[in-house]
Amino acid sequence: MEQLIGELKEHLIEELNLEEITPEDIDSEAPLFRDGLGLDSIDALEIILILEKYYGIKLSNSAEAKPIFYSVKTLAEYIMKNRK
């Protein structure tokens, strides 16, 4: 789980162009959207791409993804359960 969280932070930084942010800066349990990293609806769509690209998970829309995308931790938990 810890390894997955670390890897996920790397992917988020790379794919969402979070320059000047290091994995240590991201609190695994803090909300990803609005405050903190200031992610928005385009980032949510990019996270859907990350899930498919690295973990083979398909999500059809960002609405159903809301609770899953709450934090890095909730994302990692979802990946653990659903990865292919």
Binding site: E20, D40, E46, L49, K53, N61
Partner: protein, 559 residues
Amino acid sequence: MVGKTEVNIYIGTTSIYTCLGNKFETLAAMNRGRGGLSFNKQFSMFTGSLEVEMMETYTRFESLMIDQLIEVLSRTNIKLSDPSVQLIISTTKGNVELLEEDVDHPSERTFLYTSAELVAARFSASNPPIVISNACISGVSSFVVARELLLSGRFKHAVVVGCDVLSGFITSGFASFKSVSEKPCRPYDAQRDGLSLGEACGAVVLTTDISRAVSPYIRLAGGAITNDANHISAPSRTGDGLFYAIRSAMAEAGLSADDIGFVNSHGTATRYNDEMESKALALSGLNTKPLNSLKGYIGHTLGASGVVETVLAIEQLRQGYIVGTYGFKESDLPHPIAISSGKQKITKACCVKTASGFGGCNAAIVLEGSDSAKLTAENHNILPQKVNVVAKYTLPQSDMAFADYIRAEFKQLGESNLKFYKMSDMSKALYIAVERLLAIEGFSEIEPTRRAIILANRSASIDSDIAHQQIVSQRLPEGPSPAVFVYTLANVSAGEMCIRHKIQGDNTFFIENRDSGLAEDYARLLIARDRADAVICGWCEYLKGKWNVDLKLLKKIFD
């Protein structure tokens, strides 16, 4: 510019070509409640696609425009070779499909202006064409710009043509936004799940000479462009940007909600667009007016939509009843609006036409029929406003690679804005230039709806187009990146500035061959006619590591 101008702008000849056919075929199908969307195997989605008879040496996009221009110009004495006639072209992506052939070396024809010049030359146009690429509001924007140019007295007539064709570039981009419906789109319906794309072309002759107008007369009585200053792709949650556009267009027309017979909205059938519109219409007091969206019949035809749907709005005004909203059964909108589900008689011969698009932009125009209260000469009894150039800034050239250069510039600003790094390179260059410009003199004293940004460049967004096409050509299983696709519209860079500096007034992006001063000229018109108090204007070019950003800040001189 004189203090008092008495000018009316009338609709002349019009023509469209949609997936339902020519103007009368399209109108007849709509009157019978028949839609034109069908499943497109190439793009794996429902689209409104055209069969195009190609013309020798012209592309599909250019052939369509030439066809429609021949159609409107053959039925009027107005000629593009006359210096008092201006051609205005509205498109989002022009010949972008040519990028598929050699993505690393975009051919000359992928530049919108090259294409525009070829079309203008076909008709021996006297004036260089004006090209407007303002995302999905381009068509409605073109009428607003045409109106300003005609009121200024520079031209007597304008010919507006709007066109976009579909390609994998466009369809995969919208798919990456998860905004495409799995079925033919259903505007405003509770079951709506996204838009359907379409391709179309339309042309309209506008004239200030009533003897050239087509009877029954319809006036282009008002128009306005605004920005949400909220998000580059998500519709506003308040609807205030679109409300401001409607309010300003109606004020121009001197009309109130009581005078309006119907609203022809954008109505894309995405969850959030339709919701946003319902809020804006409630704010405008138009929520009880019959309303329709035509997207269910012909799809969202992008840069053509504002022109094609305006032509159809004109025909609905003339026939005295409106068509239903194809695909709509039952609404679940937060603010009830009077969505027309079938044919409906209208009692007032005025229409408000709206559009909203990426970059946070909104546009509205008012069409006024001949049996409405006043069809006397429009009386612009305002004192011409004087303009001051209060700041100038040119982004310096550097020997450094762009990425290093712009990062160093951003660091110098000494702020942390995580959004900066997500922007396209053109937006980053503009971001820095605007920060420096406003450091010379700001506009904090100006009310947001009185701030505007008017830009022009040559390449539109070809730098981002290349990045998107490279991803599309890889055919990745997860599909292209929405964060890249969103910047394949030049005006989105202007939209970034609107968010950053709370600019809620006009935001228009022109495409030219070289900086002719058009952006500044238009900015001056906006201030002279008292439509803005401060305008950032100028040239904003970025392509393959080379940049040229040259800006001015104009302000109205307050007495």
